[in-house]
């Protein structure tokens, strides 16, 4: 008996009990659709997150205090460190350094106020973090030298205080009670990043050091943002920074009291998290596929019992064990294959719908269904059909012809 004949015969036999076959297929459809939808949504989320990390800037390095756990009293990062790293002779792969102080403050205008993060930055920040203003100007050297009371508003803050995002230059807001003149509004970055960069205000670093964010020493800063010359030398730049800081902090070999973090590190971390999430979701979905498989087994067992006489007759006419085995395995595989195909289509539809719902709610998840997902789902569902069909088929094949023929 060739495969095509078995396939047609299986179809005929399954169509003789359409409701039962349909319900069994439904079990597989739901399982496969769930797996496909979950994996593609998980992948979509991963793409969104890695995309927003890439938006931070591909040649950016974060440097902050504290490193190896063996260091009990890590030295703070200082402005001196920043200057050393900015030195093109010591760190030729570095193109710009932006020291940052981070704090919180109450920003108010008229009767409105909002609690938001206050960031002390230098003019280099604009280039390093790619934060242009939509109106006014960025903080410049003059503001720095004069410790000027000027502020840049993020769009969310502007919206909260003024109800608009334009025409704000020259207004005065209060940060922790002190008046600051608005010199510009930052361009909107969108809420996709994990920290909302639209909900913050920026002041000159010197102003922050003196009046808003006090640290133990005026030299101390919270974070260094370093820009490498280009994306290819990020690793070199990171190594140069590490060398400079080791020398300046005179740490022991192998125990750093600082951490450098590149965008690649962020990407790797995020990918690890999201892929764990995807596997987790897919795993849960796979359970429903398993349940569908048990449904196949159940229905095939019923079918074997019902057709005991038919099996006996086929054996009397000369069917070998393998012939009966193939017949029933084909039936269960056809069930799961049909279920798999419909399930892939349904899963694709579900993930598309979820994607458009997410898009309507400003959370861009673009579900992606790869060929590998489809292949995997098809293979997996057929394997489920074969696996759960094996026991019933084997039971059919092992029937004694005499007893099977006598069965009522």
């Amino acid at each position: 008996m060739n495969l095509m004949q078995s396939f047609i015969e299986a179809l005929e036999s399954l169509s003789s009990n359409k409701l039962r076959s349909g319900l069994t297929i439904l079990g597989i459809v739901i399982g496969v659709a769930a797996v496909i939808a979950m994996i593609s949504i998980g992948r979509g989320a991963e793409n969104t997150i890695t995309g927003s990390i890439q938006g931070i800037g591909t040649n950016l390095i974060f440097v902050f205090r504290g490193g190896s756990e063996e260091v009990t009293n890590p030295k703070p990062i200082t402005l001196g460190d920043a200057d050393a790293i900015a030195d093109p002779f010591q760190a030729p792969s570095v193109s710009a350094v932006a020291p940052v102080l981070q704090g919180d403050g109450k920003v108010s205008y008229g009767g409105e106020s909002t609690f938001t993060s206050v960031v002390g930055v230098t003019p280099a920040y604009e280039q390093v973090r790619n934060t242009p203003v939509i109106e006014g100007e960025f903080i410049n050297e003059e503001h720095m030298l004069g410790r000027a009371s000027v502020v840049l508003l993020g769009t969310d803050v502007a919206d909260k205080l003024f109800g608009r995002k334009e025409g704000l230059v020259g207004e005065t807001v209060r940060i922790d009670g002190q008046p600051f003149r608005v010199i510009g509004v930052l361009k909107e970055k969108g809420g996709s990043s994990f920290a909302n960069e639209d909900n913050q205000v920026m002041v000159p670093l010197t102003t922050a050091q003196n009046r808003l964010i006090r640290r133990q020493s005026r030299e101390n800063i919270d974070l260094l943002l370093v820009q490498a010359v280009n994306a290819q030398v990020v690793q070199e730049a990171s190594d140069e920074i590490a060398q400079i800081l080791r020398a300046r902090h005179s740490t022991e070999i192998g125990v750093d009291d600082f951490t450098t973090f590149t965008q690649q590190d962020f990407l790797d971390t995020a990918r690890t998290i999201t892929s764990v999430l995807t596997i987790f979701l897919g795993g849960i979905a796979a359970i429903s596929l398993l349940v569908g498989g048990i449904g196949i087994m159940n229905i095939m067992l019923v079918s074997v019992t019902e057709r005991t006489r038919e099996i006996g007759l086929r054996k009397a006419l000369g069917a070998r064990k393998i012939d009966i085995l193939v017949q029933f395995l084909t039936e269960s595989s056809v069930l799961s294959l049909i279920g798999g195909v419909i399930g892939i289509l349904l899963g694709w539809a579900i993930s598309t719908i979820v994607g458009s719902i997410a898009a309507a709610n400003d959370a861009a998840i673009n579900p992606s269904i790869g060929i590998d997902t489809i292949l995997m789902a098809t293979l997996f569902s057929t394997a489920v059909g074969l696996f759960f069909g094996l026991y019933p088929a084997n039971r059919a094949a092992s029937l004694e012809p005499v007893e099977a023929l006598r069965y009522e």
Partner: protein, 226 residues
């Protein structure tokens, strides 16, 4: 010297029903000549069905030798038995045993499929159906056929692989008198035309009377020949 199609010597068959051993056959010996028409009779519990199962290679004897058409069958495995059944035995059952969702042609094709025949199956099936007088019922399903017609399909199916013996188990048992007579007539004619050995297991004296030889079984041995 006679041409034996069946030689059975000292056949025994013991079933274990839990603790109890049931001796269905107790050293039965039997010979059937090629082309013969034989009926096997006996009361229920006589071992008649067991003998039929062994003759039809559906079952193996516990001991004893059985040679069917020159092949020793006693020690073959399941798949080898299936192959012997496929090539050498044509079954006709009391309850027809057709596949209900398949057409007459498909039913008749079935033994050829298991024989590995790939070409000309439909033609051979059609010829076989024409031979039993169902040339105009090729694509009918069993539920569209009368009992007599269904039994004709079963006979066509039994003959299509040109077996050495035709083994009929109460072939007229489920039919009215007229259809029963027709079926008997058909079977006897086929035997005359083709020389196929015909073995009929029956309760019916009238059926047995039409066969050349009648073997009576009782308590697992041959009681009498006629």
């Amino acid at each position: 010297m006679s041409d034996w199609v069946i030689t059975a010597e000292n056949l025994t068959k013991v079933y274990k029903m839990g603790e109890v051993e049931v001796h269905a056959l107790r050293g039965l010996s039997l010979e059937i000549e090629r082309g013969e028409v034989v009926s096997i009779m006996g009361p229920s519990g006589s071992g008649k069905s067991t003998l039929m199962n062994i003759i039809g290679c559906l079952d193996r004897p516990t001991s004893g030798a059985y040679i069917l058409d020159g092949e020793a069958v006693s020690n073959l495995n399941d798949d080898q038995l299936a192959s012997i059944r496929n090539r050498k035995v044509g079954f006709v059952f009391q309850s027809f045993n057709l596949l209900s969702r398949a057409t007459a042609v498909y039913n008749v094709e079935l033994p050829m499929r298991y024989a590995g025949v790939t070409r000309g199956r439909k033609e051979r099936a059609r010829e076989a159906l024409e031979k039993v007088g169902l040339g105009d019922r090729l694509t009918h399903r069993p539920n569209e056929l009368s009992g007599g017609q269904q039994q004709r399909v079963a006979i066509a199916r039994a003959l299509v692989n040109e077996p050495a013996i035709l083994l009929a188990d109460e072939p007229t048992g489920n039919l009215d008198t007229k259809s029963g007579e027709e079926i008997m007539h058909l079977l006897l004619n086929l035997n005359k035309e083709r020389g196929t050995t015909l073995i009929i297991v029956t309760h019916d004296q009238d059926v047995a009377a039409q066969t050349g030889r009648s073997i009576r079984i009782r308590d697992g041995v041959v009681e009498a020949h006629r």
